[in-house]
C-alpha cells in the first residue's frame, strides 16, 4: 500500500483533485489532512495540478509505509516502501 498526506490549504487543492481522478487512489481525510492511498503506486502529474514550484515541492506532509521515488517538475511518484 502506498500512502501520503497533504495538508488542506487552498494551494494544495490541485494535488488532491488530480489524485481523485485516478480510480486506483482513495482520498479521505484525517483531521485537516487529505490521505491519499493506492495499492502499489500513486502518480500525480504536476501540470495537471496547476501548482507553482514552491507549492509543488512542499505539498507532501507525510509518508506512511511509502517512499517518494520521483518528485520533479513532471511528476510526484509515491510507492509502497519495500521494507514497509
Amino acid at each position: 500500500m502506498a500512502r501520503f498526506y497533504v495538508l488542506d490549504v487552498p494551494e494544495n487543492v490541485g494535488v488532491v483533485d488530480v489524485a481523485r481522478q485516478d480510480d486506483h487512489n482513495t482520498v479521505d481525510r484525517i483531521g485537516p489532512y487529505f490521505r491519499i492511498t493506492a495499492p502499489e503506486t500513486i502518480v500525480i502529474d504536476r501540470r495537471s495540478t496547476g501548482c507553482r514550484h514552491a507549492v509543488w515541492y512542499s505539498a507532501v506532509a507525510g509518508l506512511e509505509g511509502s517512499v517518494i521515488v520521483q518528485h520533479d517538475k513532471n511528476a510526484l511518484r509515491v510507492e509502497r516502501r519495500a521494507d514497509g
Binding site: 490549504v9 487552498p10 509518508l63
Partner: protein, 212 residues
C-alpha cells in the same frame, strides 16, 4: 498568580547589525526606502572590552519595530572582502548563495500596491530588486543592502490558517525526532510526520487550541 499568558513578547524591539559604510546605509534605508531615523547613541568602550568609539543608530521599520546599526570608528572588516558574506562575517569562497542569504531580514507590507512601491524605490536606486518571488502564501522582493545583508520585503497572499499551525507543530516535532538519529533526511521526516498525523490530526479541531 498572574493572569498573563505564557507567550508575552510583543515583536521585534530592534535587530542590530554592524556597518562599515554608515553613509551608504543611511542612503539605503533613509533616502531610498524612506525609513525614518528614530534614535542614535554615541558611546565608547568603557567596560572591560575597551572597544572603539561607536555610533548606534536606528531606523523605524514600522509596527514599532526598529532596525539598528553599529558603526565603530577605525574598525576594519575581517576576512577576505571578495568572499561571499556581509559586513558581519565572510564565508569561504564557493559558499553557495542560498546559504549566504539564509540569514536575512524580512519586512512586512500590507498589500501588492505597497510591495510594488518599495520595488519602485529600490529599482530607482543603487540597490535594485534582485528577485521577485511568489511563494505558496507570500510574495516577496529581495535585494542586498550596502552591508551585504539580504533584505526581503514581503506581503501575505492569504492569512495563515489554523491547520498550518498544526502542520508546523507536527513538522517540527518530526524534525526534532529525526535529527536525534543517524543521518537525518527528508524521507525520515515525512515518515515520522505521517505517524504524528495519524496520532494527532484526527482529534484536531480548528478552534481547539488545547490539543496543540
Amino acid at each position: 498568580m498572574t493572569d498573563k499568558p505564557v507567550h508575552r513578547v510583543r515583536g521585534v524591539d530592534h535587530a542590530a547589525f554592524p556597518t562599515f559604510d554608515p553613509a551608504a546605509t543611511v542612503r539605503f534605508y533613509r533616502d531610498v526606502l524612506k525609513f525614518p531615523i528614530v534614535h542614535s547613541i554615541c558611546a565608547a568602550g568603557w567596560g572591560p572590552e575597551r572597544h572603539p568609539d561607536f555610533i548606534h543608530f536606528f531606523f523605524d521599520i514600522g509596527g514599532g519595530d526598529r532596525l539598528a546599526f553599529f558603526y565603530y570608528f577605525g574598525w576594519e572588516p575581517a576576512g577576505d572582502q571578495s568572499a561571499p558574506g556581509d559586513a558581519w562575517a565572510r564565508l569561504p569562497h564557493g559558499t553557495p548563495k542560498f546559504f549566504a542569504d539564509s540569514r536575512h531580514l524580512a519586512i512586512n507590507v500590507e498589500d501588492e500596491e505597497d510591495l510594488l512601491e518599495y520595488r519602485r524605490r529600490l529599482d530607482e536606486s543603487e540597490w535594485p530588486v534582485e528577485m521577485q518571488v511568489m511563494h505558496e502564501t507570500i510574495e516577496s522582493i529581495y535585494t542586498h543592502d550596502p552591508n551585504g545583508y539580504m533584505v526581503e520585503i514581503t506581503r501575505a497572499l492569504r492569512p495563515v490558517t489554523p491547520q498550518e499551525d498544526l502542520d508546523a507543530e507536527l513538522t517540527l516535532q518530526a524534525l526534532c525526532d529525526v535529527v536525534a538519529g543517524e543521518a537525518p533526511s527528508m524521507d525520515q521526516l515525512l515518515t515520522r510526520k505521517a505517524e504524528l498525523i495519524v496520532e494527532r490530526a484526527a482529534s484536531w479541531e480548528p478552534a481547539g487550541k488545547e490539543l496543540v
